[in-house]
């Protein structure tokens, strides 16, 4: 130990020599330091010029203005904390750091535990881990497609509208309305449409509507049928408009189409006695309705716009949407690391606890989690660092119009220095700010490494 000249880092403060410090002693024939320098030189030059020098340069550069000629002190840093644009980036990074690492770690843990219970765990791990190999650029394109607003193009909204339509059957005719005037058998009422005269069974109820735009007409609409098969209270709801202006108002003409999916109610004394839905040709029939006269009405729900899903790429949801893509990319990383940690847990201790009568949840909570905590911490910290540096996904997924709302520090740094801002003073300050944010984790890494080497 005495001949070692390690300087301040000599790992002998506690008197216990480290195994690492011992290895060189075994080398009576070890090479001279000059040879070590030859082996280290290429790495030292590259790290010196490309990593260490830029850190020093950036710190100095951050104290100068956009042109680089005027010393402005900490003005660039005050700008970061006062400018509304950069404050939004800090807020967004804060959301990222609070939300994403927890979600990734929890999902990774969940997947790791669940894969132990399926036979095809290798296939599952490969699938979930696969996004790790894909560029964030490609992942961005993939999720731009998923988040497309139009439910006929974007998968996310296609799923949402399908789920929604399963629970509410209304087709949605936002522009449909009855014809004005006395000739029309129906009139607007309470936001819906109702017959003016009470209707009885055996006499078809005609409900003509107008104002429907061609692009909102359902694709399954069939030519309207004026006389539905007899029996019970029945009728037809149709689009009373013949292109070219021919056709008779209030009568079903050959070219006119039924309005499918319309909810129809039979009402007596203000009470809904029966509800039904129109078929593709617009006909409806109330089965099992007591004889008598009813008011037939189309409730308001028919005339609200159909559910079109969420505006994922709009101002409000853009950050959660991008965090979703981030989770898709990183959950596999967390899962694989945590799986390895799970595999290292001695089965005996789990079995012993189970035999002692502990429930699965207690075993998980009191034994698995504490034993996993070092791995969980590594995953969590790695994700914090990643979220602080997040750039590609935001840059690719957020459309240009909402980029100010979804902006993050790393992206803002690129934007002000290279992407048109042309203010390398502020850019350097943002880079230094980013460095300061990861500094605690850098120190943590170094300390943990020293502890493990000892």
């Amino acid at each position: 130990m005495t001949e070692r000249l390690d300087g301040p880092q000599a790992p002998s403060q506690d008197g216990a020599p480290s195994p690492r410090a011992d290895t060189p002693k075994k080398f009576r024939l070890g090479p001279s330091p000059a040879i070590a320098i030859v082996f280290l030189l290429p790495a030292a030059i590259l790290l010196g010029i490309w990593v260490v020098y830029p850190i020093v340069y950036s710190i100095f550069r951050s104290l100068f203005d956009a042109s680089g000629s005027v010393f402005v002190g900490v003005e660039n840093f005050t700008t970061i904390f006062t400018d509304r644009g950069t404050l939004v980036t800090i807020r967004n990074n804060l959301i990222w750091v609070i939300v994403a690492p927890i979600l990734v770690t929890v999902l990774g843990l969940l997947f790791a535990v669940l894969t132990e219970r399926i036979k095809w765990s290798t296939a599952f791990k490969l699938i979930v881990f696969m996004p790790m190999a894909v560029s964030l650029m490609a992942a961005g394109v993939i999720f731009r497609l998923v988040y497309e607003q139009d439910p006929d193009k974007g998968l996310a909204n296609a799923v949402l509208t399908t789920v929604n339509d399963t629970f509410s059957s209304s087709q949605g005719y936002p522009d449909a309305r009855p014809r004005e005037g006395d000739a029309s058998p129906v009139a607007a009422k309470d936001g819906g449409v109702a017959t003016k005269q009470p209707a009885q069974a055996g006499q078809p109820v005609l409900i003509p509507l107008v104002g429907i735009k061609a692009n909102t007409m359902p694709t399954n609409a069939a030519p309207a049928l004026a006389n539905p098969p007899p029996g019970g209270l029945s009728g037809t709801v149709w689009f009373d408009f013949t292109p070219g202006g021919q056709g008779t108002s209030g009568a079903v003409d050959p070219q006119e189409k039924g309005l499918p999916g319309m909810t129809v109610e039979a009402v007596k004394d203000g009470q809904v006695a029966a509800t039904t839905t129109t078929a593709a040709n617009g006909t409806f029939r109330f089965d099992g309705l007591a004889a008598g006269s009813y008011e037939v009405r189309l409730p308001q729900t028919n005339f609200t716009a159909p559910y079109r899903g969420l505006n994922w790429l709009g101002e409000a949801l853009i950050t959660p949407a991008i965090i979703g893509a981030f989770i898709w990319v990183w959950a596999g990383f967390a899962m694989v690391l945590i799986s390895a940690g799970l595999a290292a847990i001695p089965r005996d201790s789990l079995e012993a606890a189970r035999i002692d009568g502990a429930t699965e949840w207690q075993v998980f909570r009191k034994i698995t989690i504490p034993l996993l905590s070092p791995v969980l911490l590594v995953v969590f910290v790695t994700m914090i660092i990643n979220t602080l540096k997040v750039f590609d996904l935001v840059f690719i997924i957020a459309p240009a119009s909402v980029q100010p709302q979804s902006n993050v520090i790393a992206l803002e740094m690129w934007r002000v220095s290279f992407g048109g801002g042309n203010n390398q003073g502020l850019g350097s300050a943002l880079a230094v700010f980013l460095l300061i944010l990861v500094l605690p984790f850098m120190i943590m890494n170094v300390r943990r490494f020293r502890r493990e080497e000892r």
């Binding site: 024939l29 070890g30 090479p31 790495a43 993939i142 497609l145 998923v146 590594v378 690129w414």
Partner: protein, 299 residues
């Protein structure tokens, strides 16, 4: 040990066997639910990429008219036209640029880092531990810190926009991880092997080339895959330092993002082309990939 097993067995038999049956039943039911949940999660992870593949194989008109999932009822709409159009736009050049950036970077990182890692692992020199701690510290330096300084450095030396400028930047920022990974692996090489060679008077470069490097192959393979994918998938460094002649695929595609809807043919086919090689590598070498990732995540 024997007594412990005996207690365990007695415990099992003495415990309520009914409860065992019951919990097994619950396990079976739960097992079914777990299967379903896992299949759904698997689909969730698989389907978006599948969507990209289908979109890349349909015309813009079809893509604008209907969702890619309609392909299950209309498989006839598939076409490779987007890919041939893409190759006609000069995308091939950016593909070769990606290779011209990725391959030299990977080789340089492995060579330079292996040399340094060997010195850190098996040579004695003043300040060794401090220097290595600095390398550990540099592991997570954000590359943003070096963008502006190196842009002005490259501007001053006339390197700006060239492929070597991009490669060297990648190499430097790949080194801390590479040195860390390889040094930790090299330390595990049996000292007796090296000592014997040194006793025989073998020069250091020979020990490095004929003992350390071959023995380090598993770690070098992990590092190689990781480094290759990292550089292949980079966008930020290319965005700043590459010009239209030296740009890799990621930058070429990024420049098309502004008109996402109109360029979906080029974007989807380009994105899929850019990810097909990483995917092949990933499936072929996933073991090394996983090992490298675990070793790199500072245990």
């Amino acid at each position: 040990m024997a007594t412990a097993t005996a207690t365990v067995e007695r415990g099992v038999h003495a415990g309520a066997p009914k409860r065992g049956l019951l919990s097994r039943g619950v396990d079976k039911l739960g097992g079914g639910a777990v299967q379903v949940v896992m299949i759904l999660i698997g689909l969730f992870w698989l389907v978006p990429t599948l969507g990209l593949l289908v979109v890349s194989m349909r015309s813009v008109a079809v893509n604008n008219a209907e969702g890619w999932w309609t392909i299950f009822t209309k498989p006839a709409e598939l076409t490779l036209a987007n890919y041939s159009n893409l190759l006609a736009t000069g995308f091939t050049a950016s593909f070769w640029n990606t290779i011209a950036i990725t391959v030299p970077t990977t080789i340089l990182v492995i060579g330079i880092a292996a040399m340094a890692a060997y010195a850190f692992a098996w040579m004695d020199f003043p300040g060794r531990d401090l220097l290595f701690l600095i390398v550990v510290g540099l592991l997570i330096v954000p590359i943003q810190v070096a963008l502006i300084p190196m842009a002005s450095f490259y501007g001053g030396t006339g390197m700006f926009g060239s492929i070597p400028s991009v490669v060297l930047f990648h190499v430097a920022f790949g080194l801390p991880f590479a040195i860390f990974l390889l040094r930790n692996f090299f330390v595990g090489i049996p000292a007796s092997l090296l000592e014997a060679a040194r006793m025989d008077g073998a020069p250091e470069w020979k020990i490095f080339a004929s003992i350390v490097f071959p023995l380090g192959k598993p770690a070098i393979a992990s590092l190689g895959i990781f480094q290759f994918l990292w550089v292949w998938n980079d966008m930020l460094i290319a965005l700043v330092f590459a010009n239209p002649d030296s740009q890799p695929m990621t930058k070429a595609l990024q420049s098309q993002m502004r008109q996402f809807g109109n360029n979906i043919d080029i974007l989807s086919s380009g994105a899929f082309l850019s990810l097909i090689i990483p995917l092949i590598l990933f499936f072929a070498f996933q073991r090394y990939f996983v090992q490298g990732m675990m070793a790199g995540s500072v245990k």
